[in-house]
């Protein structure tokens, strides 16, 4: 039993998001909020106070018509591995509320452990972490629609995307009932992946050659956000447009994503 759990079973869940396919419809954001009991406020226009685990950003190339072009970039938590699991947020958390799991490659956030110092928010280069300024208030009757597999958060703690870890837990439960020890690729998919009508998001185990993400991340046009920081994120993006790939990091005029490699 002990040796079975070893290296070869180590998973690294991640995503490859095709930015050429994303239409910016925002289905992933809605699905994520509904799936993960993400609280919302009456006025969601103040983005310093609103919470969006999955957030679609709009990028423009800044050129006048007819060269003008836009790109939508969905941004979940990047689940950075850093160097040996020392992702930016995990390194600074004084409460051990956030942690990197070498077995799944998921950066966990335990809300009851968090005391709200927000160091992790300052450390995160992707603005993927959000602070609960208020206790969640659900419109009357809506509390009945909350997902029982995801704990709701209280005022004063930080929250972020968990790669729908509860779906992984459920998938494993089902596998155990069927007498299996491993789950299939399709058994565990995040809510945003399934909600995307364009199929822009692909989710799976980056370590497993039989999973779609394994090949997709090796495409020549695949890149990660702010790659040179060394945060080693597990969310890959793909775009055939060079200006989009350039927008993924702060490149100087005379350098580009192709030169960095």
């Amino acid at each position: 039993m002990k040796s079975e759990q070893n290296q070869e079973n180590t998973k690294k869940f991640g995503m490859v998001i095709d930015l050429d396919v994303c239409t910016g419809c925002g289905s992933c954001m809605v699905a994520c909020m509904a799936e993960n009991n993400v609280p919302f406020r009456k006025d969601e226009s103040d983005k310093l106070k609103s919470i969006t685990w999955m957030r679609v950003y709009k990028l423009t190339n800044g050129k006048p018509y007819p060269e003008t072009d836009i790109c939508y970039l969905p941004r979940p938590c990047q689940h950075c591995e850093g160097h040996e699991g020392h992702s930016p947020c995990v390194s600074v958390c004084p409460a051990t509320a956030t942690d990197y799991d070498m077995q799944t490659g998921i950066v966990s956030q335990i809300y009851t452990r968090c005391f709200g110092c927000r160091y992790c928010m300052a450390a995160c280069p992707y603005h993927a972490r959000y602070f609960n300024w208020y206790d969640p208030v659900w419109p009357k009757g809506m509390e009945k629609y909350l997902n029982p597999d995801v704990s709701v958060r209280m005022r004063g703690v930080v929250e972020k995307c968990s790669l729908c870890i509860h779906r992984y837990q459920a998938a494993k439960n089902k596998a155990f009932m069927e007498g299996k020890t491993e789950i299939e690729e399709g058994d565990y998919q995040t809510a945003c992946t399934q909600a995307c009508p364009a199929g822009a998001i692909t989710f799976g185990d980056l370590n497993n050659p039989s999973h779609a993400v394994y090949k997709l991340k090796q495409q020549p046009h695949a890149f990660r956000l702010l790659e040179r920081l060394g945060a080693n994120p597990k969310i890959y993006y793909v775009s055939s447009r060079e200006w989009v790939r350039r927008a993924g990091d702060n490149y100087l005029k005379n350098e580009g994503p192709a030169k960095i490699g």
Binding site: C93, H166, G179
Partner: protein
Amino acid sequence: MSNSDDKTQAVSEKTVETSDRPGGSSKGIIVLCFFIGLAASLAFGWGVFPKLLYSRKQQPIDFNHSLHAGVVSNGCESCHFLRDDGAYSGAPKLAQCIDCHQDVQGNSPEEAKFVDQYVKKGIEVPWLVYARQPACVFFSHAAHIKAAKMDCVTCHGKIGESEHLKVYEQNRISGYSRDIEGASLINMLGFKKHTWDRMKMDDCSECHQKQKAVMGSVQTQKEGCFVCHK
């Protein structure tokens, strides 16, 4: 106690030499008051407060596990079963009980109460769950029973042989069952004989650390947080 008395005597003797009597006896009274106060606080802290902290509730029906275990065919899993998707059914619903208890079967007053107040009216029994964990905890019965091949008794003890349900003690502040925090004061401090004496995070982690060689967590070198949290 005699030691401290000697000390107070020594102190009062010293003061006799330098000042007059009333000052000396007042110091003795202070020391005496200190020990009385200490004893009173200890008695309150260890004796009275734990009783005040927990409200004691009786289960709606005094269920007899032993009696039922003799009648059903599939042991504990006859009523406490796992669903096909791996979810645990927990305490049985009325629909299951109705199979046998459409009408009163025996002559137990508890059964008559159950049939009258719940079956006939179609109301679910509001069982108090001793093992109810906080919302942030993920526990999988399927992982323990199916994958790790553990039996019910390992964690729950011989509940199946009990004839009465024990009193449910609820923490007035946290709202959680006392079985989570420790059945006795000694259990609360982490000294326990049985698995079911306390069910806090350290108790889960203690066993998990023994069973597994690979620890995923970078911060704690234990198992990953999301193994038992959600």
